[in-house]
């Protein structure tokens, strides 16, 4: 379970501060899939980063009772000048995982082939996302934080991701940020809607999507 107690976040902007959201309060239970809806710049990535412990809230508290992936997306979490394999080795080390198992899995899952021997900075954003997904699946978490990019890449890769996340790991919790109402509707049971410096959790997806459309 992950519990967000009354969290607020703002960033410095000019001489003042920009409130991203305030007093946000919700719980992610085991196996629960929560969508995060909002316009560009509404704070979807910010919320995911707070849950992932990448940034800290201004006030409030986030209680972690299950293992959580780092925010999976197009960037972040990698060192650009190192190769895919070196990054995998680094991540295996810090998560205390066995590198040989991981490298075998990412070769198979990411389909990046010889590109894994190249520095990450030469990767396209889709390729980075493939590697990030592959690594996070290899390490196994109770809760996956997915920023924007669910089902990247071509049809085949989309199918593989779908099978891994919703088939084999259908029992895992997930926080999924997206612009797409269809994605949220098909995968999530609740959603947080962010906008106008506020955030609200909706237990019902249709209500959430209506609130999002009204923003």
């Amino acid at each position: 379970m992950i519990r967000c107690h009354n969290i607020s976040k703002s960033y410095p902007m000019g001489h003042g501060r920009k409130q991203v959201f305030a007093g946000l309060d919700f719980t992610i239970g085991r196996g629960e899939r929560i969508g995060v809806l909002g316009r560009n710049g509404a704070g979807k990535s910010t919320l995911i980063k707070l849950i992932g412990g990448v940034e800290l809230p201004d006030s409030g508290r986030i209680e972690q009772k299950m293992t959580t992936s780092w925010p999976l997306g197009f960037g972040g979490g990698f060192q650009g000048s190192l190769t895919g394999y070196d990054n995998a080795r680094f991540i295996a080390r810090i998560y205390g995982a066995n590198y040989n198992d991981i490298s075998a899995f990412i070769e198979d899952f990411s389909e990046l082939g010889r590109q894994l021997k190249m520095p990450i900075k030469t990767y396209s954003s889709g390729m980075r996302a493939r590697l990030a997904f592959a690594l996070s699946l290899a390490i196994e978490f109770d809760c996956y934080l997915i920023d924007e990019v669910i089902l990247v890449g071509d049809q085949d890769f989309q199918q593989k991701c779908h099978d891994e996340f919703f088939g084999k790991r259908g029992d895992r919790a997930m926080v999924l940020a997206s612009h797409s109402p269809d994605t949220i509707r098909s995968y999530c049971s609740h959603a947080v809607v962010l906008g106008n410096g506020q955030g609200k959790i909706y237990e019902d997806i249709d209500e959430a999507l209506a609130a999002y459309a009204a923003l």
Binding site: L56, P71, G96
Partner: protein, 261 residues
């Protein structure tokens, strides 16, 4: 207690991973690889030693050779200068890694500190080995003083890094004044002379510099009774421990403000 232990294990794992990563990104796998980390202190100490030997001639201090004196002075100094450079904006430079929650800000500073300390120690072992064989340096007379001096020097460098790393994130102008600061502090670095060789007035004030105290002990450990050290072993602790405490507080404070791309 169990969770404290588990926390230590994770931190040790992270620091080790960061060190390997840092060595790979800085030195790569080609040619010397990680051995490069001792090349700069070695060249500094070696070349300055040669330069001074020719420019200043032999020293008139009880048989302390110029080469050995330069080597013993420059290797700690490079540690300090490297750490000053490495601490600046260490957090923003590594920001992408904050995606992994078990990596703490402190780990960046500690990993870099270990790399620099190990590099300097390797360089020192190498150059002192060469100088001892060449008969230019005595076998360390008091290894306990040598180690104590080196340890105290490292402690003070770590204390400075712990403060500098968060402060450089708060105030960018720090970066502009650091080169002049590290230059101006050279006379207070203890690298270029022994207190006993200066006027008593100067020595009286210089023992307030933790660097000077550490260097006096370090050199006493090497040269033994060829030199007369003047130092206060407590001053480095009086200065470093509060600095470390402030540094840790600042690191904690900056963590909340850090924006990760």
């Amino acid at each position: 207690m169990a969770s404290f232990r588990a926390g230590w294990i994770v931190q040790a794992r992270v620091i080790k991973a960061l060190m390997i990563r840092e060595l790979l990104t800085r030195f790569g796998r080609e040619n010397f690889g990680f051995l490069w980390m001792m090349v700069e202190p070695l060249m500094f100490a070696g070349l300055v030693g040669i330069l001074w030997t020719f420019m200043r001639g032999p020293m008139e201090h009880n048989g302390v050779t110029t080469a050995a004196f330069a080597a013993s002075g420059y290797i700690p100094l490079t540690l300090f200068r490297h750490m000053v450079g490495r601490s600046q904006l260490a957090f923003s430079a590594n920001g992408g890694l904050m995606y992994h929650r078990q990596i703490k800000l402190l780990d960046f500073v500690i990993a870099r500190f270990f790399i620099e300390v190990i590099g300097s120690m390797m360089a020192f072992l190498f150059i002192s080995g060469v100088l001892i064989v060449a008969g230019l340096m005595p076998v360390p007379a008091y290894p306990d003083y040598l180690l104590a001096g080196w340890g105290i020097y490292c402690m003070f460098v770590l204390a400075i890094s712990l403060v500098l790393a968060p402060v450089s994130e708060y105030a960018e102008w720090i970066e502009k004044i650091l080169p002049v600061t590290t230059y101006i502090m050279l006379p207070f670095s203890g690298s270029f002379s022994m207190n006993a060789w200066l006027t008593p007035g100067a020595a009286k004030y210089l023992i307030y510099s933790p660097f000077v105290d550490a260097m006096e002990m370090f050199r006493y450990g090497i040269f033994g009774d060829m030199v007369t050290p003047i130092y206060n072993p407590y001053i480095p602790f009086y200065v470093s421990l509060p600095l470390m405490a402030v540094g840790l507080l600042l690191c904690r404070k900056i963590r909340g403000r850090l924006v990760v791309e």
